[in-house]
């Protein structure tokens, strides 16, 4: 590759001009008369493009700047127009050249953002075409360079302005179809979708403020751009994984320490309701923190209210509580139905070790139609000792779940911002 800068007079209009871009320049388009000259054949006139309107761009051939520490020179510019659904989008690509790093493109987007594009030598294992995009049920993806890239848009644009030197042979009116995918901080554009077109993969990143200023232009972004969205939180994966791990750990704790009905401490077995009130004596081991009282009564289409009172060894009442048990059943046009349950439970906190007396009384009862109607005949009362309360562990699991969901939601919203300008629409 040579680094020469050539000076010529346009063979069509005679205007003197400098051709930047080294020895691989194939075409030069005169900025004065629009003649396309063959750089490989003594600047023979290939075509003449009249009535072109120069786009507004702060760059011109010969401007220089620094991108990632490498000096690049603008050698040519080309404007693309895309029309779809009555709308038009225009953008200007500036071909740039570095004697050491070859060719690339600086693009000034509609949104005022500047991006730098260069060819990649990494090809995806699978290829994607506009037809495949059309037929896809879900948003397509490609793995490129070890990164999962997400489909962003398909572009079908034509050239409507040319100026300066190019290392290929663009013609006014030429069309180009490409597919753009977006990843972490970069976009990848693929093109070449038929057998006689070379497949190309290009990577685009936004220019930094310093890089843009090195070309003598102050950054003035005034709209959204998928690459201008804040990058993924660098702790996202870690926080998500740790929160999920601790959630599972808490769930395992709950399973390991949850003791259901607890260690049996006392019980009546099935006794007639007429035996109530009853007193149950029990002793709590040092590790017991809670006492669970389970009630069963064969109440049917009625309700019963049970009062309970706990006395300590000194005979002093320390806690009281109550539980209603109601159970109704019947049959209607939808079939058999039931409501309520013949079982209920109450949990008391206790001190341990301690001896307790629990008294249980069925203080009120009734049926659906009439009060004071007894609908049950037997009761079964069991007392169990619990070593753990499930609510703190459930709350702990909830905190980890919240951290997990909040992290995922933030990433979901960020992805939504990136994809806001995508042409992909989900079909129902």
């Amino acid at each position: 590759m040579t680094t020469e800068v050539r000076a010529i007079n346009c063979p069509a209009c005679g205007a003197g001009q400098t051709i930047h871009g080294g020895g691989r320049v194939q075409t030069h388009v005169c900025p004065y008369c629009g003649s396309a000259l063959d750089a490989l054949d003594d600047f023979r006139v290939l075509a003449r493009y009249t009535d072109m309107i120069r786009p507004q761009t702060p760059l011109k051939p010969g401007d220089t700047g620094t991108i990632r520490g490498v000096a690049f020179t603008v050698i040519g510019l080309i404007r693309w127009v895309e029309s779809y659904g009555g709308k038009q989008w225009r953008w200007v690509d500036h071909q740039v050249f570095s004697p050491t790093h070859g060719y690339g493109w600086i693009t000034v987007e509609d949104s005022g953002h500047w991006s730098f594009t260069r060819k990649l030598r990494v090809y995806p294992r699978q290829w994607l075409t506009p037809d495949m995009v059309e037929r896809a049920d879900d948003r397509p993806h490609l793995w490129i360079g070890g990164e999962r890239m997400t489909y962003y848009e398909t572009s079908d644009a034509r050239i409507d302005y040319l100026e300066g030197a190019f290392n290929w042979v663009p013609r006014l009116g030429d069309r180009a179809t490409s597919i753009t995918l977006v990843g972490q901080g970069r976009m990848v554009t693929i093109s070449g979708f038929d057998d006689d077109t070379e497949r190309e993969v290009e990577e685009t990143r936004l220019l930094t403020r310093e890089e843009q200023e090195s070309f003598g232009v102050a950054p003035q972004p005034h709209g959204p751009h998928p690459l201008a969205v804040r990058p993924r939180w660098r702790h996202h994966g870690f926080v998500t994984a740790v929160a999920a791990g601790f959630f599972l750990l808490t769930a395992l704790f709950g399973l390991a320490f949850g003791n259901g009905d607890g260690t049996p401490l006392a019980g009546t077995g099935r006794i007639p309701v007429s035996d109530l009130p009853v007193e149950l004596e029990f002793e709590t081991a040092p590790s017991i923190r809670l006492v669970k009282l389970q009630l069963y009564t064969d109440v049917s289409n009625g309700w019963a209210w049970f009062d309970m009172e706990l006395e300590d060894e000194a005979g002093e009442a320390v806690l009281s509580g109550g539980r209603e048990i109601s159970y109704y059943s019947g049959r209607d046009s939808d079939g058999r139905w039931t409501e309520g349950s013949q079982r209920g439970s109450v949990v008391f906190p206790v001190d341990s070790p301690e001896r307790y007396t629990l008294s249980v009384e069925m203080s009120e009862y009734g049926s659906g139609q009439a009060s004071d109607q007894l609908t049950s005949s037997v009761v079964d009362i069991r007392v169990g000792g619990l070593r753990f309360s499930w609510r703190p562990l459930a709350g702990t699991a909830g905190v980890f779940l919240l951290i997990f969901l909040a992290t995922q939601a933030a990433e979901f919203l960020r992805r939504g911002q990136i994809m806001a300008g995508s042409d992909w629409t989900e079909e129902d």
Binding site: H235, F238, V239, V242, A243, F246, L249, T250, F253, F257, R289, L290, D312, A317, V318, L319, S320, G321, G322, R323, S345, V346, V347, F348, P349, V350, D351, L386, R387, F388, S389, W390, R391, P392, L393, G395, T396, A397, V399, F400
Partner: protein
């Protein structure tokens, strides 16, 4: 591992440890409707640490 990640891990471990401790103390274990006769308080919260 960055200090932020270590802090986050420690915070998660502390939350889990705190949850385990509260659970093992039977905190928030009582049913609604249970009343401490001595203090008159009821509900699922600080019921029943009597004596």
């Amino acid at each position: 591992m960055s200090p932020v990640r270590i802090l986050f891990l420690l915070l998660c471990a502390a939350i889990l440890g705190g949850g385990y401790y509260l659970s093992s103390q039977g905190i928030w274990g009582a049913s609604a409707g249970v009343t401490s006769i001595r203090t008159g308080s009821g509900g699922m919260g600080g019921v029943g640490r009597v004596k």
